[in-house]
Symmetry: C2
Subunit: 349 residues, 2 copies
DNA sequence: CTGTTAGCGCTTTCAA
DNA sequence: TTGAAAGCGCTAACAG
């Protein structure tokens, strides 16, 4: 239960000047003030200047809430991610914020903490807020998109990125997980590795399933037999990477390369290798999805498949703007795919 | 110039049910509906149930915008940070988001990108939005808090954290930079280091100035003479850390320990050391402010002064709530200090 | 060029 | 226990 009031009470604050205050002071009608302020061409230059000057002098600032309310317009969007503090999501939010602000939109952030219940609650909040649009990446626990339907009912456009609800007919921004992983596995094989293991996530989530399928395809294409994978079910922590590596080391046949679906997991793998005395990259090669700012600082520096975050954010924002500027009866669904970029470093020899 | 419309046009979307729709369908007055929905005790149980059931059946959701507008209340807060994607800030935002959502408040995020002009623009946007309150950490370029004054004029409470405007009489949440750094330098001296250099930021910003003063005090207390510092003026990048280290190596007397004000800078220092063949930690000890999730993964793992982020976020949020629930004529300013926590790892022997 | 009027969705007096 | 009326700040249609 909230320990503070739900909302900020502004009743006893000094009154902020409104167009009516300006109108009264200048002996004109507040509609005229409104028009002058918005630069309506029919207003005389004289009146316009008078209004502008007075408005500035008393520190008038338009009330965006009243404006939105009156016009049935909304100037903010919501971003829902599993975890705001994870670099990939905070970088994404940073990019979206810049794009949105440039368009006069503000950005509200929400996180599901990888929990379905929180995600559902967040959506309810967003509907109440009547935001203009939503960009979302789903939680690990999410199995279908029913809870997102309410957005559509309220005409709130929705764009998914990266982790998506496949059962929902909305715009989506995706990375070519299957292709990328398959090629990455091919790259490792080309470099001479033969026992490649895959550390991945929930197979119910599109990104991890596609990557695993890409991994299997890559192995199959090369006619190899070794395939081992460790699936981390919950949120990725460093400890999960350690455990995954330990599990792989305890198998009869040990891997000579790891393909990891996350920087955090790779960090754990490295940690475990240090503890187990495995020499990197000599005894074990590593390849990771996502180019974290610190991928190049690990020892050995990590060869990665970089997600083109800027492209993802730009696409997601463009698709959302498209949806927001369209009538709700013209869906205008679009699905965009972006390719990974291979960055070669020391973790693969 | 924006390439999209500034706002989302909802005119041609299906109408969302309002209390009037419910009233009409049930042949009662919309005021009654309003009361029933909010559980007003004067409404008969029969009417209440009828209204509730019908509201649910047609998917009625209160319009928070209209509510805020009508009640002159606001249920969202803004957070301004230099850069959303920097771990310390995204972690902070993550914590604030959780606290705020628990109170029924949403969080809008803004970033200054370390630029004064953007910071000033962001504040104007926030005033227009009439948010309920603001939590901010200032940009490297900010020299005074004049541009924040408008918030006060509009009765919008403001709480600073970490990097603050010292000329502004607002609530602030601070870390004991002077004390912490002084003690950290003492710790290094105790470990036998005698030539400790400081890699820091803009001395106009409270945190960096206080840390540098703490550094100097620590040196002075031990009666040492070596003091070298490199000041990074702009946003911290890995390259800045590299350059700083290079500069220190080119001095006549080389340091035997580095005290770095940022994880990113430390990352650069390590990189440069590798390039210059400096053995860490044997030839050079390192100590860093901020316990990044990856501090322990660097080689050598980094001994750090951890900022108690959770405490900072909790304090900042509490102070903001306090300010939001008070009349604007009762300032209720409070300044809270939090201590660093020393985490010993391998970078100091 | 400017004033009048009405109303967005909701709550809150004041009556009944 | 419910209805009627007013109004938050702003804009837009209509009139002049």
């Amino acid at each position: 239960m909230p320990i503070f009031a739900h909302v900020c009470n502004l009743h006893n604050m000094q009154a902020k000047p409104t167009i009516k205050d300006i109108a009264k002071a200048l002996n004109i009608h507040h509609a005229t003030v409104s028009r002058a302020l918005r630069g309506d061409s029919r207003i005389s230059e004289e009146t316009r200047k008078k209004v502008m000057d007075y408005a500035t002098s008393i520190g008038y600032v338009v009330d965006q809430n009243a404006l939105n309310f009156r016009n049935k317009t909304i100037n903010n969007i919501a971003v829902i991610v599993p975890n705001i503090s994870h670099n990939i999501f905070s970088s994404f939010i940073s990019l979206i914020t810049d794009l949105a602000n440039k368009e006069g939109l503000t950005v509200s952030v929400f996180q599901s903490k990888e929990q379905f219940d929180i995600e559902a609650k967040v959506i309810k909040t967003i509907v109440r807020q009547r935001v203009g649009g939503v960009i979302a990446s789903i939680s690990n626990e999410t199995r279908n998109g029913k809870h997102f339907e309410e957005l559509r009912e309220f005409g709130i456009p929705l764009v998914f990125f990266d982790r998506v609800c496949e059962d929902l007919n909305t715009s989506k921004v995706l990375v070519d997980n299957f292709e990328g992983t398959m090629q990455a596995v091919g790259y490792l094989i080309e470099k001479g590795y033969r026992r490649i293991a895959h550390v991945t996530g929930q197979q119910a989530i599109n990104v991890f399933r596609e990557r695993h399928q890409g991994y299997l395809k890559g192995i199959e294409l090369a006619g190899l037999t070794y395939k081992e994978s460790i699936v981390i079910e919950k949120d990725f922590e460093i400890a999960d990477g350690e455990k995954a590596m330990l599990a792989l080391l305890n198998k009869d046949e040990k891997p000579d390369a790891i393909f990891s679906d996350s920087f955090v997991l790779s960090a754990g793998v490295i940690k475990q290798c240090r503890q187990s005395g495995i020499q990197l990259p000599d005894e074990l090669a590593m390849m990771t999805i996502t180019n974290d700012p610190y991928s190049s600082l690990l020892v050995p520096s990590q060869t990665v498949l970089e997600q083109p975050l800027e492209e993802l954010a730009t696409s997601a924002f463009e698709l959302l703007m498209k949806a927001m500027n369209e009538a709700s009866n013209q869906p205008g669904i679009e699905i965009r795919h972006h390719a990974f970029r291979l960055i070669e470093r020391e973790s693969v020899k």
